[in-house]
Amino acid sequence: MSLWLVILLTGLLTFGTRLSFILLLDRLRLPAWFQHSLRFIPLAVLSAIILPELASRNSIVDLSLRNPQFYAGALAVLVAWRTRNVLLTIIVGMVSLLLFQAILGII
């Protein structure tokens, strides 16, 4: 019983969060500074997801060679910057991660 309550309420709250500004911006005329700041949202949120994902293991910052994700990720940043190609970035990132992991396994 309480399990279904959790599912329904968390679902409703999450849906409400996702819907919040979509509805609000229908009704409100927002100031220009607010509208201008919207373009920073994807850059800021996604960047704040990316770096911790690359530079940590088990919620501890790890930039050592034992964390190949960080170096594979850095290489991917370089590829994305030079080529602007999504698939190429993913492929180079994955291949270099596997290579780094293999090298790490040998050492």
Binding site: T10, F40, A48, A76, A80, N85, I90
Partner: protein, 227 residues
């Protein structure tokens, strides 16, 4: 592009991300069964809540008998970042009917948002781009439902150092880096990334929210008053 082309471009652009999402769906299904949730509820959570990391946290908490109110509060906080996505996507879908808005809000996950907002910021007629959003959103939705189901019935037969989850940050890199076109945007990104790293110990993904706000604030300050 017409609506059909938009839709299928959304599907195609979302496709690589599925490599990273599917292992999490399997893991969720397996963890849900370990927590003793049972099949109908576990699958219902994937379609009603439809939020990867929140579901993983929720089933862990349910399994360890944490009070209902606490679980609901934690899931709410973990998913607060979606309000930012909502604000950022809102101006682009303002012209749509209420039905479309409800549907797209339901599909507004990290992974669908990332490709869709990138698509909106690119050139081209944006009155049809909600079909791209729908294509990306439904693709992720289907993959999440199916991978959850497989996880529920078969369990997660994934080795612990399975590298496919790495596709997610790689995709986000491929979307963000080319979008860094000016000083304000680049500094917003760098500050958010560093702040995200510094706040890594914060519970319930609160570090992500703090870092995002610091990044947005940096962007606004650097850009100064709009002309």
């Amino acid at each position: 592009m017409n609506l059909k082309e938009e839709f299928w471009k959304g599907v195609r652009d979302e496709a690589p991300i599925l490599l990273g999402v599917a292992p999490f769906g399997l893991l969720y299904g397996a963890l849900a069964m370990d927590a003793g949730i049972g099949m109908p509820a576990a699958q219902a959570m994937s379609s009603i809540l439809f939020a990867g990391s929140a579901q993983l946290i929720a089933v862990r908490m349910i399994g360890s008998g944490i009070p209902v109110l606490m679980i609901i509060l934690v899931v709410f906080v973990v998913n607060l970042r979606h309000a930012l996505y909502s604000a950022s996507i809102a101006p682009h879908i303002r012209h749509l009917s209420p039905g479309w808005k409800l549907l797209l809000a339901y599909l507004l996950t990290d992974e669908a948002y990332a490709v869709t907002i990138t698509h909106y910021h690119q050139a081209g007629d944006s009155t049809q781009k909600h079909w791209y959003f729908l294509g990306a959103g439904l693709t992720l939705w289907a993959a999440w439902q199916v991978s959850s189901t497989i996880g529920i019935f078969i369990g997660a037969q994934i080795p612990p150092d399975w590298p496919l989850g790495f596709v997610l940050p790689l995709t986000f890199i491929a979307l963000v880096v080319p979008a860094l076109k000016d000083r304000a945007g680049t500094l917003a990104s760098v500050v958010a990334a560093l702040a995200g790293l510094l706040t890594i110990g914060f519970p319930f993904r609160l570090g992500l929210l703090v870092a995002a706000f610091l990044g947005i604030l940096t962007g606004m300050l650097v850009e100064g008053k709009p002309k």
